[in-house]
C-alpha cells in the first residue's frame, strides 16, 4: 500500500531559508506528521518540528500545508493525490525560530493581559450550582486547544505586524466571550474587549472559524455576540429600557468593570 511521497519542506531560521525537496515512503492511513517524522528519522535528523500528542488534542503542530493553516497530525495523506507534492511551511503570522517551528509568544503575552475569572463565594454547602444549558456556551469555547491557527490566519495581523500590540485576536475574543457568558463571573470585560483587546478591528470575515480544528464557531458564537454586547452597553437606549423591564440578558447583572 506504500508509495513515495514528494514533499517540499521549508528549512531555515530568522535570517531566511528555502524549500527543500524530500522524497519519503509513506503508507496507508498516515498523516502529514508521520511523513515529516520519517524524513526526520532517516534524512534530516535536525528538522525542527513542534509536536506533542499526535492526536489533535494539544494544538502544538500547527503549520501551513500547501498554504492552508492546518494541524500536521490531523491532515491525512489520503486527502491528497499520491502524485501530488505536499508543501509544508511554518505559520506565517509568527516569527520563525527554525524550520517549521515559530515563536508564538504573541499569544502568551495576550493571555497575560486578560483579567482572570472572578467568582462570588460558594453556596453554603461549599458547592456551586450552574445549569448545564448555561455552561454549554462556555464549554464550546473551552474546547480550544490553543493551536493558534485562528491567530495565524486572521488578516488583521497576518502581514500586519503593526496591528499586533492593539489586537488580541480570535483566540482571546473566545476567552472574553467565555468569561462574559460564564454564569458565575463577576467582572464586566466588555469595555476592555472593545478597547485594549481590539475587538472592533475584527470585521467578521470568519477566516478564524474556517481553520479551527475543533470546529468552534468563533465568529458566530463568540465574536458577534461579544460585539453585540459591547454595542448594547455603549449605545442602545432600548437596552437601558429593556433591562429596566427585565427583557434583556442578565449576563452582565452584578458584574463590575475591570
Amino acid at each position: 500500500m506504500g508509495y513515495d511521497l514528494k514533499m517540499r519542506i521549508w528549512r531555515g531560521d530568522v535570517d531566511g531559508g528555502e524549500l527543500g525537496d524530500y522524497t519519503v515512503e509513506v503508507s496507508e492511513g498516515e498523516v502529514v506528521l508521520d511523513a515529516l517524522h520519517r524524513v526526520q528519522a532517516t534524512q534530516a535528523g535536525d528538522l525542527a518540528i513542534r509536536w506533542n500528542c499526535k492526536a489533535g488534542k494539544c494544538g502544538s503542530c500547527s503549520a501551513e500545508i500547501n498554504g492552508k493553516p492546518r494541524l500536521l497530525c490531523m491532515t491525512r495523506l489520503s486527502d491528497f493525490e499520491e502524485s501530488e507534492t505536499i508543501t509544508v511551511t511554518p505559520m506565517r503570522s509568527f516569527p520563525v525560530i527554525r524550520d517549521l517551528v515559530t515563536d508564538v509568544s504573541y499569544n502568551y503575552e495576550k493571555a497575560k493581559q486578560l483579567p482572570a475569572f472572578a467568582p462570588p463565594a460558594r453556596d453554603e454547602d461549599g458547592k456551586r450550582r450552574m445549569a448545564q444549558m448555561d455552561v454549554e456556551r462556555g464549554q464550546e469555547f473551552r474546547k480550544c486547544i490553543e493551536c493558534f491557527l485562528c491567530q495565524n490566519t486572521c488578516h488583521v495581523v497576518r502581514d500586519h505586524e503593526e496591528n499586533k500590540p492593539a489586537f488580541a485576536g480570535p483566540r482571546f475574543f473566545l476567552r472574553y466571550a467565555e468569561l462574559d457568558m460564564h454564569p458565575l463571573d463577576t467582572h464586566d470585560r466588555r469595555e476592555l474587549a472593545q478597547g485594549a483587546a481590539g475587538l472592533g478591528m475584527c470585521n467578521i470575515t470568519k477566516c478564524c472559524t474556517e481553520v479551527c480544528p475543533e470546529g468552534i464557531k468563533i465568529t458566530d458564537n463568540a465574536i458577534i455576540p461579544m460585539k453585540e454586547r459591547v454595542v448594547d452597553r455603549k449605545y442602545d437606549p432600548l437596552v437601558w429600557l429593556g433591562s429596566k423591564i427585565g427583557l434583556r440578558t442578565k449576563d452582565n447583572d452584578g458584574r463590575s468593570e475591570v
Binding site: 531560521d13 503508507s27 496507508e28 492511513g29 498516515e30 498523516v31 508521520d34 526526520q40 528519522a41 532517516t42 534530516a44 535528523g45 535536525d46 528538522l47 525542527a48 513542534r50 509536536w51 506533542n52 500528542c53 499526535k54 492526536a55 489533535g56 488534542k57 494539544c58 494544538g59 502544538s60 490531523m74 491525512r76 525560530i97 527554525r98 524550520d99 517551528v101 515563536d103 508564538v104 509568544s105 502568551y108 503575552e109 493571555a111 497575560k112 482572570a116 475569572f117 467568582p119 460558594r122 461549599g126 458547592k127 456551586r128 450550582r129 450552574m130 445549569a131 448545564q132 455552561v135 462556555g138 464549554q139 473551552r142 474546547k143 480550544c144 486547544i145 490553543e146 468569561l179 460564564h182
Partner: protein, 637 residues
C-alpha cells in the same frame, strides 16, 4: 515578572538569542517545578500561594503537557450523584484496584482530599458538566463503585490543564517553556551544612540550545511517565522518564517499576495512530466488548477477587447503569489490568477483529445524539483519523501502554524523596496506585499531591533562610559536557579508547521501543525479560556512540539523544523489577507465574542506581502496614 529583571524572551523566558555567544544564564528561586502538566501546575500554584518564589520549567509550550490528553474524568467522592459515596468507599476501591499493594496512606489522603481539589478547579473557572440539580456531574468508570468522575464530555484533561494554566498565569508565576532539565544539582559538601541536598537544576533551551542553571533548594519533579519506551503507547514524545531518571541519578529510589498499565482500549488502525487512547468512558457510558464471533466475552474473564461485585449475566449488567443498588457492575468495567488481559487472550485465541484488535461497541447500545454529546472527542477522533462513525459501527481497539504505576519513592504526606529538597508528584512518583491504577484516579492524584508537594517544598525552602545548599561549578561543567557529547564525532568513553561515533538516536529509540514492546509487554516471561535486559545492555553501549547532525538550535535529534539516556535507565529498571517479581499482580503479568503470591503481596521492589552509576540495583522492602481502623473498610464487604 522575571526574577532577574533582564530582557527575557516573552514566551520562553530565554535570556539569550541564538546568535549570542558564550555565557551561562542563571536564575534563583525557592522552588523549581519541573513539568507543567496537572501535577506541576498544581504544585507551583501551591508553592506560590505559600509565599515561595516559584518557577515552572517545562519541555513543551505551556498548556501542551500530557494531561491535555486525559479524557474520562477526575475521581472524587463528592457524592453529587450518589450521596452514599464517601472517601472510605473511594479509598477501598483504590486499594482493591491496586491489588492492595498501594501505599495505604497515599490512597487515604487521595480519597479524602480529592473532592475539595475538584471544587477548587471550579473556583478557578473550570466548567464541568452538571447534574440536573446544577452540581458537578459524575460518571461511571472501571473499578469505582459509584459514579464518581467529574468530567467535561471526554476532554476533562484539557479543561483541567487550561484551568490550572490560566490560574498560574493570573498569579504571575514564572514559566520557562521549551526548556529541558538534564541534571539535578546537589551540594557537594562545601561547608554549607547541606551536603547532599538539592541545590538546583541544569537545563537547556530548546529554542537556542543554550544552557541555564536554576539555583533552588527545592525541586519538584512532575515530569510524567515513561510510555515512549514502548512502541504501542498512548503517550506523547515527552514521556521519556525524565523525572524517574533525574531522581535515580540524584541518589533517590524508585518503587513498583514492574507495574506498567496497558490500557485495554487503544486504537489499532490505521497504523499511524496505533495505541492512541480510546477513553474508558465509552464503557462507562454503556459500551461493550465483543469478539469476532459477536460474543460479549468479558463474562468469561471475571476473576475470583472481583466475583462478588461483578454481574454474571448480560441482563444484570445492563440494569446496573440505571440501578446500582440492586445490580452488580458489568465486567467491561473491571479494573484496566483485568480487561486488558482478557482482550489480549481473545486476540491470541484467534477471535480478534480484522486489524488485530477486538470490537468496542457503543453504536448498538446508545443513540447517536447521546454518543456525540458524551463522547465528542472520540467521535471526532475516529471520524477524522480512521473514517469510522462510532455512532453507526463498532470501534476496533486493543491494549496500549498507558501509565506507569512505579516512580520516585516519596513520603506520603510531603512527597519528599530520599534526597533532601527533592520532591516528586504525579505519574513520576510511585506508591499511590499500587500495582494498578483505576481510571480517573490519575487526575485527582495530580491535584491532591501536587498541592501537598508545593506546600512542603515551599515550607522547607522558607525554613532554610540563608543556609541554602550550594551549586557546584564542577558539576555544572560536567553536565554541560555530557549534554554536548552527542555532537562529538569521536569519544573516549569506550573501553577501547577513542572510537568513532555513528549511532543515530532515532534508530536506537526505535530499537528500544520494539524490545520493550515485544519482551516487557503485557504478558511477560523470565526468558523474554532476560533477553530484554541483554538488549538494553547493547543499546546502552550503542548510546555511548551517538552522533547528531546540525547545531544546537531547536534540534530534535539532539533533544532525543539526551532523552535516550533517561529512557534506557528507566527501561532497565522496569525489566529488572519485572524479572524479580515472580507472581502476577495488577499491571505485571507473568506467564510463568500466573497467579498472585501472598508473600509478594507484602513487598515492594526498590530500584537505585548502582555504585558505578551505569546500572541499577534492586532490593526488596516491606510494604507499609495499614492501621486496623482502615482495615475494617475491607471486612465490611
Amino acid at each position: 515578572m522575571t526574577s532577574t529583571g533582564s530582557d527575557r524572551h516573552p514566551m520562553t523566558g530565554n535570556e539569550m538569542s541564538g546568535s549570542e555567544s558564550g555565557g551561562m544564564e542563571r536564575h534563583s528561586y525557592d522552588v523549581v517545578v519541573i513539568g507543567a502538566g496537572g501535577a506541576g501546575l498544581r504544585a507551583a500554584i501551591a508553592a506560590h500561594d505559600a509565599g515561595a518564589r516559584t518557577a515552572i520549567v517545562c519541555k513543551s509550550l505551556l498548556g501542551k503537557a500530557h494531561t491535555v490528553m486525559a479524557e474520562g474524568g477526575i475521581a472524587a467522592s463528592m457524592g453529587n450523584v450518589y450521596p452514599e459515596d464517601g472517601w472510605e468507599v473511594h479509598f477501598r476501591d483504590t486499594m482493591r484496584g491496586g491489588k492492595m499493594l498501594n501505599n495505604w496512606r497515599m490512597a487515604q489522603l487521595h480519597a479524602q482530599e480529592a473532592p475539595e481539589r475538584v471544587q477548587e478547579l471550579e473556583d478557578w473557572g473550570a466548567l464541568f458538566d452538571r447534574t440536573p440539580d446544577g452540581l458537578i456531574s459524575q460518571r461511571d468508570f472501571g473499578g469505582h463503585r459509584y459514579a464518581r468522575l467529574a468530567h467535561v464530555g471526554d476532554r476533562t484533561g484539557l479543561e483541567m490543564i487550561r484551568t490550572l494554566q490560566q490560574r498560574a498565569v493570573a498569579l504571575g508565576i514564572d514559566v520557562f517553556m521549551e526548556c529541558t532539565v538534564t541534571e539535578l544539582l546537589k551540594d557537594p559538601s562545601t561547608g554549607s551544612g547541606r551536603a547532599g541536598a538539592i541545590s538546583g537544576a541544569f537545563a537547556y533551551w530548546r529554542e537556542t540550545g543554550r544552557f541555564v542553571v536554576f539555583e533552588a533548594p527545592s525541586v519538584i519533579l512532575a515530569t510524567g511517565g515513561i510510555g515512549k519506551s514502548f512502541k504501542v503507547t498512548s503517550n506523547s514524545w515527552e514521556y521519556t522518564g525524565d523525572g524517574h531518571a533525574l531522581a535515580l541519578r540524584a541518589g533517590a529510589s524508585l518503587i513498583n517499576m514492574e507495574f506498567v498499565q496497558f490500557h485495554p482500549t487503544g486504537m489499532v488502525w490505521p497504523p499511524s495512530v496505533k495505541g492512541l487512547l480510546v477513553t474508558e468512558s465509552v464503557r462507562g457510558d454503556g459500551g461493550i466488548l465483543r469478539n469476532s464471533e459477536g460474543k460479549r466475552f468479558m463474562f468469561d474473564y471475571i476473576p475470583e477477587f472481583f466475583r462478588s461485585e461483578t454481574a454474571d449475566t448480560e441482563e444484570e449488567a445492563d440494569r446496573w447503569y440505571d440501578d446500582k443498588k440492586n445490580n452488580r457492575r458489568p465486567p467491561e468495567l473491571l479494573p484496566r489490568d483485568e480487561v486488558a488481559r482478557a482482550i489480549n487472550s481473545e486476540i491470541k485465541a484467534g477471535r480478534g477483529s480484522p486489524h488485530g484488535g477486538i470490537f468496542l461497541d457503543i453504536a448498538s447500545r446508545r443513540d447517536p445524539e447521546f454518543i456525540r454529546r458524551r463522547l465528542p472527542s472520540m467521535y471526532h477522533q475516529f471520524k477524522e483519523l480512521a473514517d469510522v462513525d462510532i455512532t453507526a459501527e463498532p470501534m476496533e481497539i486493543g491494549p496500549t501502554c498507558h501509565y506507569v504505576m512505579g516512580g520516585v519513592e516519596v513520603d506520603a504526606d510531603t512527597e519528599l524523596s530520599g534526597v533532601t529538597g527533592l520532591y516528586a508528584v504525579g505519574e513520576c512518583s510511585g506508591g499511590m496506585h499500587g500495582s494498578n491504577r483505576l481510571g480517573g484516579n490519575s487526575l485527582s492524584d495530580l491535584l491532591v499531591f501536587g498541592r501537598r508537594a508545593g506546600e512542603s517544598a515551599a515550607s522547607y525552602a522558607a525554613g532554610l533562610r540563608d543556609a541554602r545548599a550550594v551549586v557546584d561549578e564542577g558539576h555544572v561543567k560536567a553536565a554541560q559536557a555530557d549534554a554536548l557529547a552527542p555532537f562529538d564525532p569521536s569519544s573516549g568513553s569506550g573501553p577501547a579508547g577513542a572510537t568513532e561515533n555513528t549511532e543515530n538516536p532515532y534508530t536506537i529509540q526505535s530499537d528500544l521501543q520494539n524490545s520493550m514492546n515485544d519482551l516487557v509487554g503485557i504478558i511477560r516471561t523470565a526468558e523474554e525479560l532476560t533477553r530484554s535486559l541483554a538488549e538494553i545492555e547493547k543499546l546502552k553501549e550503542r548510546a555511548q556512540h551517538l552522533l547528531v547532525e546540525g547545531h544546537r538550535q531547536y534540534n530534535p535529534g539532539w533533544h532525543l539523544a539526551l532523552d535516550l539516556r533517561n529512557m534506557l535507565v528507566v527501561s532497565e529498571s522496569i525489566a529488572r523489577a519485572a524479572l524479580e517479581r515472580q507472581e502476577s499482580r495488577g499491571g505485571h503479568t507473568r506467564d510463568d507465574f500466573p497467579g498472585p503470591d501472598d508473600t509478594w503481596g507484602t513487598k515492594n521492589l526498590v530500584v537505585r542506581l548502582d555504585s558505578t552509576g551505569t546500572g541499577i540495583e534492586l532490593t526488596e522492602q516491606p510494604l507499609p502496614v495499614m492501621p486496623d481502623e482502615l482495615k475494617t473498610f475491607f471486612e465490611a464487604q
